[in-house]
């Protein structure tokens, strides 16, 4: 079951890509892709990239060197798109609140610089897990990318949580899916890059594929499920708070 080229392996590699392509078609048809163009581009690219890698993987004519070169090229472009998605999320998160825009951007920029430094140090201390640089280098590259990306998306979540910045539902769903996938990918690629679990590497592949599937399902839910209408009564301030404030004011006046 948990072997390469098993039914589950084929399903977990292909199903999220098919769902992603279906999602992009719906977003295109509805015209909502204009609200998050970078994330939309990422969805399209990631789906096509993974389908190409899948075809290259099962094709007997393709050498392993060709597959890893394609993997490198796809990873680099995808990483740039993912950084763009984080920037897009941050832009729309802070845009309605000018009071926090500058501080928020500075915070994420500083965190980005620190994360790149940490990722570089981690890469320097990672011993190659394979004799061929194409493979060991790609593992280290993935670890480096996910240290930065997971750290950045965590920083965005912490920024929003600390300042109580309201998330737009769709963008929260995008960030949640990315956060879940990138944190798990960081753990898995760290284990792969350092040569841990050498004998059961396929388990980490399955874990990566399954987590990405979950992330795609999160995006499907948040991007396609209709928003529940909030009842009007929910927006009124509680009466008891007004009485408390009045009582405290009167007490102060009488002192």
């Amino acid at each position: 079951m948990l072997q390469a080229h098993s039914f589950l392996w084929h399903y977990l590699w292909l199903a999220p890509q098919c769902l992603e392509l279906g999602l992009t078609l719906v977003l295109w048809w509805r015209g909502t892709w204009r609200r998050f163009p970078v994330f939309f581009s990422y969805l399209v690219f990631a789906a096509i990239e993974q389908i190409i890698l899948y075809v290259l993987d099962i094709s007997p004519k393709v050498t392993w060197q060709t597959w890893w070169r394609a993997f490198w090229a796809g990873t680099i472009v995808e990483a740039m798109l993912k950084f763009g998605v984080v920037a897009e999320l941050l832009h729309y998160l802070l845009r309605p609140w000018p009071a926090l825009a500058s501080v928020g951007r500075h915070f994420i920029s500083v965190m980005g610089v620190l994360l790149v430094l940490v990722a570089a140090v981690a890469a320097a201390f990672t011993a190659p897990d394979n004799t061929h640089w194409l493979i060991s280098g790609s593992h280290t590259l993935m670890q480096t990318i996910y240290i930065t990306e997971a750290g950045l998306i965590l920083s965005v979540f912490l920024l929003a949580a600390y300042f109580h910045i309201p998330w737009e539902r769709v963008r929260f769903g995008i960030a949640l899916g990315l956060g879940v996938a990138w944190c798990e990918h960081l753990a898995a690629w760290a284990l792969l890059a350092t040569g841990a679990l050498t004998l059961r590497r396929e388990l980490l592949d399955f874990l990566n594929l399954a987590t990405y599937h979950v992330a795609v399902l999160i995006w499907l839910y948040y991007l396609l499920a209709p928003l529940k209408e909030m009842p009007k009564s929910a927006v009124s301030l509680p009466e008891n708070s007004l009485a408390v404030w009045n009582r405290e004011l009167e007490r102060l006046i009488q002192q």
Binding site: L100, H164, A190, V244
Partner: protein, 178 residues
């Protein structure tokens, strides 16, 4: 291997934080009913006294240097408590404003946007003010400016009053004791 373990632990903690934020976000709706009760009263006069440079100058002129540093640190600790409380109040008000953002009436929604923006501004100022207070604790002779947080709190009080009046014209709302 140690590096891998560290990264796995960091990844798991990050995942827990993100999932925790997601869960707490979904629980906010039920918890928001008690939001108003979470606002704590703040004595602005006492805060102004603690933040007044003239008071510090007076104490500096009257007390020996070592005693002044001790008193100054005690005053700064008290000031930090005020600032933290103001920041917590701002967070509560930001959540109240966010709930009101969904209001159908345009004036209420506009007042809610103003309230949230000013609450976020105060929360930001509270962070910056705390940094300055903690630096001043390390160097008690340094000057300390607390005017931005004081101004922010005053503006926030006005915005909360506006929102309260729009939602319930009969009842006055106050978040600060002047």
């Amino acid at each position: 291997m140690t590096l891998a373990i560290l990264l796995v632990i960091a990844a798991l903690l990050s995942l827990l934080v993100i999932l925790g934020v997601a869960v707490s976000r979904s629980l906010h709706v039920s918890a928001d009913a008690s939001l108003a009760g979470q606002i704590q009263l703040l004595d602005l006069e006492a805060f102004r006294n603690l933040a007044d440079p003239a008071e510090d100058a007076y104490l500096r002129s009257r007390l020996p240097a070592s005693e002044f540093r001790m008193v100054r640190r005690a005053r700064l600790r008290a000031l930090a408590v005020y600032v933290q409380t103001a920041g917590q109040n701002a967070a509560v008000l930001a959540r109240m404003g966010q709930r009101a953002l969904a209001a159908a009436e345009v004036p209420t929604a506009e007042a809610a946007v103003q309230l949230v923006n000013q609450a976020l501004l105060l929360r930001r100022n509270a962070v910056l003010a705390l940094v300055r207070i903690y630096i001043a604790m390390a160097w008690p002779n340094a000057e300390l400016g607390a005017a931005p947080i004081l101004d922010g709190y005053g503006q926030l009080s006005g915005a909360a009053m506006l929102l309260g009046r729009l939602q319930n014209p009969a009842a006055p709302v106050r978040i600060a004791v002047w």
